[in-house]
Symmetry: C2
Subunit: 352 residues, 2 copies
C-alpha cells in the first residue's frame, strides 16, 4: 500500500498516556492524517486530546472491530509489551489483522514475521508485515562516504536517552520546510521510521555496521534534500547505549550538532550514578569526538521543558543561552525559530 494511503489503528492497550506510549504519541503528533483510532480498552470512549493533550477528536476504542469500523487498513504497534513478552491479547489482534489483510507496522524487538504462527497466517493471506527494527541486509562498514554529499548534515545528540531528539528533529524539519528549504528527516528509531515510512532502527544493527547504517541513511536522505536532519539516539555519556550514539556520529559525520537536553534531569535515567555534566562539557565532548574525522560544532540547544513551569522553562533557556552563547529553545513548547534560523543560516554559509 502507498504510505500515504495507510490508515492506522494504533495499538496502545493499557498504556495510552502522555508519557507511556512514546511511539503512538509520535505518530499521532506528526501524522494525524494516518491515524483513525487508538486501541486501549481502559481509555475507550475518550479522545486522543483527552488522554495525551493532542490528537484532537481521534477516538480511543475498546476493540479491534471498532478500529476497523473507523476505517483502519493497518495495525500500528504503538507501545512495547511490558516485560518483553508478547501478551496473548496482542497475539489475537495481530492474527486478526493478518487474516483481514491489515498491514502490520511494528518496531518491536520481537519480529512478527518470524513467529511461526504469524508467518503461516501471513503466507495464507498475503498480508504485508513491516518489522521496522529488522536491519537491511548488506549494510556497509562506514568509511566517510557522506563526505561526498552536497547536503548539509545535522545530527541531534543528547544529554540522555528520551530527552526529545526525534521531536526536536521533526519540529526543525517542519520549520525549515516553511522557510522553503528542501529538508529530509532520517529516522533511526521505530517511531521516526513509522512517521516517515522509511529509516533504519540502528540499535538493532550488528555493532560493526552501526556506522554503515548511519552512512546509508544519510546518503539515502540526501537524495532529495539539501539539509538532512539525522535522528540521534542515546547519549555519549549513557552507559548502556553510547556505542549506538558514537556509531551514528561517525557514520553520519554531521556538519553540525543540535544538542538536546532536559534541564530538570540531573542524572542519566536508570543510571543515577552518572551525573549529567554542564552544557559546556557536553559540547566539548561532542566536538572532540568529531575533531579527527570532520570537525563539527554544536550550533544550538534544544530543551525539553515539559516538566517545568513557564517561568522556570524560560529561565532554563536563558541560562543555556548565557552559558553557551548559542541559540536555545524548547521547539515544541515555544517557537522553534531560534533553532530553525541557526540551521538555515549555517547551511547558507556552508554552501556559499
Amino acid at each position: 500500500m502507498n504510505f500515504n494511503d495507510l490508515r492506522f489503528l494504533v495499538l496502545a492497550e493499557g498504556q495510552f498516556g502522555p508519557l507511556s506510549s512514546k511511539t503512538a504519541n509520535g505518530v499521532i503528533r506528526y501524522t494525524p492524517e494516518r491515524c483513525v483510532a487508538v486501541l486501549d480498552s481502559k481509555q475507550a470512549g475518550k479522545t486522543s486530546q483527552d488522554v495525551i493533550g493532542f490528537g484532537g477528536a481521534l477516538p480511543v476504542v475498546a476493540t479491534f472491530e471498532e478500529g476497523v469500523a473507523k476505517g483502519a487498513n493497518a495495525l500500528l504497534i504503538g507501545i512495547a509489551p511490558q516485560g518483553g513478552k508478547l501478551p496473548e491479547s496482542w497475539r489475537g489482534w495481530i492474527k486478526q489483522a493478518i487474516t483481514r489483510k491489515l498491514e502490520i507496522w511494528s518496531g518491536l524487538h520481537f519480529f512478527i514475521a518470524d513467529d511461526p504462527e504469524f508467518a503461516a497466517l501471513q503466507k495464507q493471506h498475503g498480508t504485508i508485515i513491516h518489522d521496522l527494527r529488522k536491519p537491511p541486509a548488506n549494510l556497509p562498514i562506514s568509511g566517510g562516504r557522506v563526505r561526498e554529499l552536497d547536503a548539509t548534515v545535522i545530527l541531534t545528540v543528547g544529554s540522555d536517552c528520551n530527552v526529545g531528539k526525534m521531536t526536536a528533529s521533526l519540529q526543525l524539519r517542519d520549520g525549515l520546510k516553511k522557510k522553503g528549504q528542501r529538508v529530509a528527516f532520517a529516522g533511526t528509531g521505530q517511531t521516526g521510521i513509522m512517521i516517515e515510512g522509511w529509516g533504519i532502527g540502528v540499535d538493532a544493527v550488528v555493532s560493526d555496521f552501526v556506522g554503515g547504517a548511519a552512512e546509508k541513511l544519510t546518503m539515502d536522505a540526501a537524495r532529495d534534500a539539501d539539509i538532512v536532519l539525522v535522528e540521534g539516539q542515546g547519549s555519549l555519556i549513557h552507559p548502556g547505549y553510547s556505542a549506538v550514539t558514537y556509531g551514528l556520529i561517525h557514520g553520519s559525520l554531521p556538519h553540525a550538532f543540535i544538542l538536546c537536553t532536559q534541564p530538570s534531569r540531573q542524572t542519566i535515567d536508570s543510571n543515577d550514578w552518572v551525573r549529567i555534566p554542564s552544557l559546556t562539557d557536553l559540547i566539548q565532548m561532542h566536538e572532540l569526538v568529531m575533531k579527527y574525522l570532520r570537525p563539527a560544532k554544536v550550533i544550538g540547544i534544544s530543551m525539553n521543558t515539559y516538566d517545568l513551569s513557564d517561568a522556570a522553562a524560560k529561565d532554563a533557556i536563558k541560562r543555556a543561552q548565557d552559558e553557551t552563547g548559542l541559540p536555545a529553545t524548547d521547539p515544541v513548547r515555544y517557537d522553534p525559530k531560534p533553532l530553525v534560523d541557526v540551521i538555515d543560516s549555517f547551511h547558507r554559509n556552508r554552501i556559499k
Copy 2:
C-alpha cells in the same frame, strides 16, 4: 572436549604468512601446544618458523589427511576467506572434519553450524562446532555493574585497528603472571577467543548490547582474577569500527588504559583521509570519554614496531616516553617489563 586436550589442524590455505594469517599466527604464538599442523598446500613441507618466523617445527601440510595423521582432533579456521564467500575447498575440509568428528573452531562471520549442509552432517555425526562470533543469548544492556568488582580492569585501546592490542594484552598477561599476579585475559575477537577458549566476539553483537557484552566478559573474567586485561577492538577515531570501541570502553569501564600504536602509521588503514593524531591527543580523547562515567587514565604506551629498524624502533619508543611521560615499549620485540610494571604498581596502589 576439554580445551587443553584440543589439537588443532590450523587452516591457512594460500594465506599462511607473517601478515596474512592473523588468527592462525596468534594461536600458534600463544598456544603452540595445541597446534599440530598448518594446512596450506602452497607452503607444504616448510615449518611454521620458516614461514612466519615463530612456531618452531610445526609442520605445514598439503592435505587434510596429513593434518589428521599429525594427531589433529580439531579444525581451526585460521584465516578469513578472500571476498567473503566460503571457497569450495574449505567446504570439503569442513565436511571431512565434521564427518570424522574433529571439533570445528571458527571465528568467521559465516556461521558454520547454520549452513544446511554442515548442519545435516553435524546432526548425523554429533560433532561439536564452535562458531565463536555467534553472540550469547540474553546479553544485558550495560549499566556500570563492573563497578562492583574488586578486580582492576585494564583495557587496551589503539590508534587504529590491527596495531597489536591483542598481542600486547597477551604479552602483559604473561608478564603479570610471572610476577605472581592472578590475571585474566578477556578476549573480544576471534583470535583471542581461540587462544583462551572463551570470550565474546563483540563486533558481531547487536549494537544495543555491545556494552553489555563487555560488561559480562569483564565480570566473568574477574571471577578468578585480580587483574582483568580486556582486549580492545578498533579505535575511537576509526570511521568504521569506532562504535565497537566506544561500547567496549563504557561496558568494561576500565580503571586504566594501555594505548597501542604503530609509530610508522600516519593515517587510518583503508581510511587515509583520517590522520592519526599525536599520542597526547589520543590520550586526552580516551580520558575524556571516561570522565563522566568513571575517570581513567592512560598509564602506558604499547608500540608495534615490527616494520622499523632496531634504531628507529628505539627512537620511536624514546619519543613516545618523552611526549607522554609514560612508560612505553614494544612488548613483543623488547622486554614488556615497563608496561608489566606499570600495571602491577597501578593495581597495588589501587587496592592498598
